[in-house]
């Protein structure tokens, strides 16, 4: 283990910080939420999630928050995912396949443009509590 110099230290700090921002809720460029209720999983939500994970890994992106949630209610159009780019309204995508989600990730999450043909609607349900 070579003795560290100052910039080695800084490098480690940056790298580990990226990997642990998730813990301190740092600011994110975008948030993708895959709806994995029981039906969602049955409809293949897991493959969507894995695809997204692989995308993040390859592109070494750490400022996109990837989470999952329970069933969003529209079981017929599963698997579904909501993409919320910082500062814009969340967009729900339905009937996703691995290919579709990759496209959405590239165009919407990274590019910032909504992929109309796959989108169900913009905005999110209101909750009372």
């Amino acid at each position: 283990m070579p003795k560290l110099t100052l910039d080695d230290l800084a490098k480690i700090r940056e790298k580990t910080k990226r990997l642990t921002t998730i813990r301190v809720g740092g600011e994110y460029r975008a948030k993708v939420c895959v709806h994995m209720g029981t039906c969602g999983i049955a409809a293949g939500a897991r493959t969507i999630m894995n695809a997204l994970m692989k995308e993040l890994e390859e592109r070494e992106i750490h400022d996109v928050l990837l989470t999952n949630s329970g069933c969003a209610g529209l079981c017929s159009r599963e698997p579904m995912a909501t993409v919320e780019v910082a500062g814009q309204a969340p967009v729900k995508y339905v009937d996703l396949t691995e290919k579709k989600i990759k496209e959405i990730f590239e165009k919407h999450v990274l590019g910032g443009k909504i992929v109309q043909e796959y989108a169900l609607g913009i905005g999110s349900e209101k909750t009372d509590y």
């Binding site: 110099t5 480690i12 700090r13 994970m53 890994e57 990837l66 999952n68």
Partner: protein
């Protein structure tokens, strides 16, 4: 580099609390269960399980915080894990049942920062608790770890570091509250006699019963202490440091060793730190189980391998300490505060706390309190806020009576002083002291005379026995108080007790002896009526002193409700109860040894005690 190097990103981090409290509550069992379930659900590439230091909310251990979103799960058992993993991690639905529900409310509070226990806390010494794996240096560095060392070693001159600490207003967290900057200045100015050898000591003896702040810091964030010591060494020109940890803290010692090893590997400790040519290394010395070795000169004697007993000061350790060399001794928590002061500057640190007591203080909140745990609060916060807002009030709907701060050397602060701001001067004015931070909450069922007796028994056993007042005085005071709790106390005993307390406080050699009478003096000052009750009416208001209790049976309740179940008679050890099945029972007072078994056993509340 840590195995994180493969850039493997996880979408969920499970922060499992592995402080000693939770570990003894099967935290590692929970962690194993989590690993099993995560593997079963095939989520091992998405979910990272991290063991952290003490999270603080010990009452609700074993604890788990799910990131992102810092969802707080508490009092987990291994059988909850399968459901939790599937529901929350697989399906993304947090499990309400396992969340924290405040005592009086129904709906759980999922997010950690919304929980009252955490809301009012300001984390400085405990800034990394629950957020990093203490056994991975990278995670500490990620939290701006060793930034202060870099700054101190490359951008600041030693004198500058000292003035920064002085301006911050930081005072010793060991209990006396001696201004840290002044102490560093004294050690720096002390003429290094033969050779420029100076020493640094981190006092992790923490002998107070019920105090576990230092333990939690060492277990949760060992690097903060190491970084603080490197900065301190640079400032005063010390070349060797010792961390004196109680042998009763094996986990803290293990984590400290790992941290020291990793720091050395990274060149942040040992020779030529960060290539700046500054050498400083740290060794761990384990305490031998003597409370008195928390006192600096006794600690030094213990490190030198001599009999652990204090010596007269001056000369203070700053001039002639370890092996008669200038030595800088600070408490674990003091060291933990140093890096952040250097990193964020004295002005920022001085903005927290009161005029004379700056920054925050970590308290171990224990006793009759709902949220037992580790709390770090800014100086100047009122006692009421700690007990009610953070502590969640007194369990069982009991009345708050007093709080004992400063451990066996501290004193009891009564209900009337609830709005007392927490800082060195006001606590000392109230007759107690800041001490290391033990805060024992007592409710109406606590007998203050018995509390004084408990703490005196502790100091009597822990007195090193060197000087007469402490060795003989604590025993004498204990004999008197024990007599009082047995109903044999007289008026003269009270005055003698008070005189003894003042004499021991005045003429003892070291801190232990000087503060041992505090519990007696404060309980006499605020709860003299209880002493008088014990002496004059031979009564213990809180029914704690058994010898003074009188047990009687409410005969008609025993007959009508209990139908003479005869349970008490059968359990009475001294055959003091008369009566048979379906008959009212009666206690023969002469034979009754007041053990209280009948009171405990009777299911129908027929046995009365007054």
């Amino acid at each position: 580099m840590a195995e994180m190097a493969k850039e493997k990103a996880y979408r969920i981090h499970l922060m499992v609390c592995a402080g000693t409290g939770c570990v003894s509550n099967n935290a590692f069992g929970i962690k194993a269960a989590l690993e099993r379930e995560v593997k079963k659900q095939g989520l091992e590439n998405e979910v990272l399980i991290v063991t952290t230091g003490c999270n603080g909310f010990c009452e609700r251990g074993p604890l788990l915080v799910v990131q992102p979103g810092s969802i707080f799960y508490q009092q987990l058992t291994e059988k909850d894990i399968p459901h939790l993993v599937e529901e929350h991690f697989l399906k993304g639905r947090p499990v309400k049942k396992l969340m924290y529900t405040p005592p009086k409310e129904k709906t759980p509070v999922p997010v950690l920062s919304d929980i009252d226990f955490f809301k009012k806390q300001v984390l400085i010494a405990l800034r990394n608790r629950g957020l990093i794996d203490p056994e991975k240096i990278d995670e500490y560095i990620a939290r701006d770890g060793y930034k202060a060392v870099a700054k101190a070693l490359t951008e600041m001159a030693p004198e500058q570091v000292i003035t920064e600490i002085a301006n911050s207003g930081l005072r010793g967290r060991g209990g006396a509250g001696f201004p840290t900057g002044l102490k560093w200045q004294m050690v720096r100015n002390a003429p290094a006699s033969n050779g420029s050898l100076k020493y640094l000591i981190c006092n992790g003896d923490e002998g107070d019963p019920g105090a576990f702040m230092d333990r939690s810091i060492l277990e949760a964030d060992p690097h903060s202490v190491i970084e603080g010591m490197v900065i301190g060494a640079r400032a005063v020109g010390a070349s060797e440091g010792f961390v004196y940890v109680r042998n009763e803290y094996p986990l803290a010692i293990k984590r400290m060793n790992i941290a020291i090893e990793q720091a050395r590997d990274y060149g942040l400790l040992g020779n030529n730190i960060l290539g700046t040519g500054f050498d400083f290394d740290i060794k761990i010395v384990r305490g031998a189980g003597a409370f008195v070795c928390g006192e600096e000169t006794a600690l030094i004697a213990s490190v030198e391998g001599r009999l652990g007993e204090p010596r007269t000061r001056p000369p203070y350790p700053a001039q002639s300490g370890l092996w008669e060399k200038p030595t800088l001794i600070n408490n674990v928590e003091t060291w933990a505060n140093v890096p952040i002061i250097i990193d964020r500057g004295a002005k920022w640190y001085a903005s927290i706390g009161t005029l004379t007591s700056k920054g925050t203080k970590v308290f171990s909140l224990v006793g009759k309190i709902n949220n037992t745990g580790l709390v770090e609060v800014p100086m100047g916060i009122a006692l009421r806020e700690i007990i009610y807002d953070i502590g969640g009030g007194i369990p069982g709907g009991k009345e708050f009576k007093a709080v004992q701060t400063g451990g066996p050397s501290g004193g009891c602060i009564p209900k009337e002083q609830l709005d007392l701001p927490i800082d060195y001067e006001s606590l000392t004015a109230a007759g107690s002291m800041m001490g290391s931070g033990g805060m024992v909450v007592m409710d109406e069922d606590t007998c203050m005379v018995d509390v004084a007796r408990y703490f005196l028994t502790f100091t009597k056993d822990e007195s090193c026995g060197k000087c007469t007042p402490c060795r003989e005085g604590t025993k004498a005071m204990l004999d008197i108080i024990t007599r009082i709790t047995e109903g044999k106390g007289t008026e003269e005993d009270l005055t003698l007790l008070e005189d003894m307390a003042h004499a021991v406080k005045d003429s003892s050699l070291c801190g232990l002896g000087k503060t041992a009478p505090n519990p007696v003096l404060t309980t006499l000052r605020y709860f003299r009526n209880e002493y008088e009750a014990h002496i004059r009416d031979r009564k213990c208001p809180a029914h704690v002193c058994r010898q003074l209790n009188v047990y009687t049976i409410d005969e008609n309740r025993c007959l009508t409700v209990g139908k003479g179940c005869d349970l008490c008679r059968r359990n009475c050890a001294s055959d003091a109860i008369r009566g048979a099945k379906n008959e009212a029972h009666r206690i023969v007072q002469e034979k009754c040894i007041k053990c209280g078994v009948c009171y405990d056993v009777c299911n129908f509340g027929a046995v009365k005690v007054d």
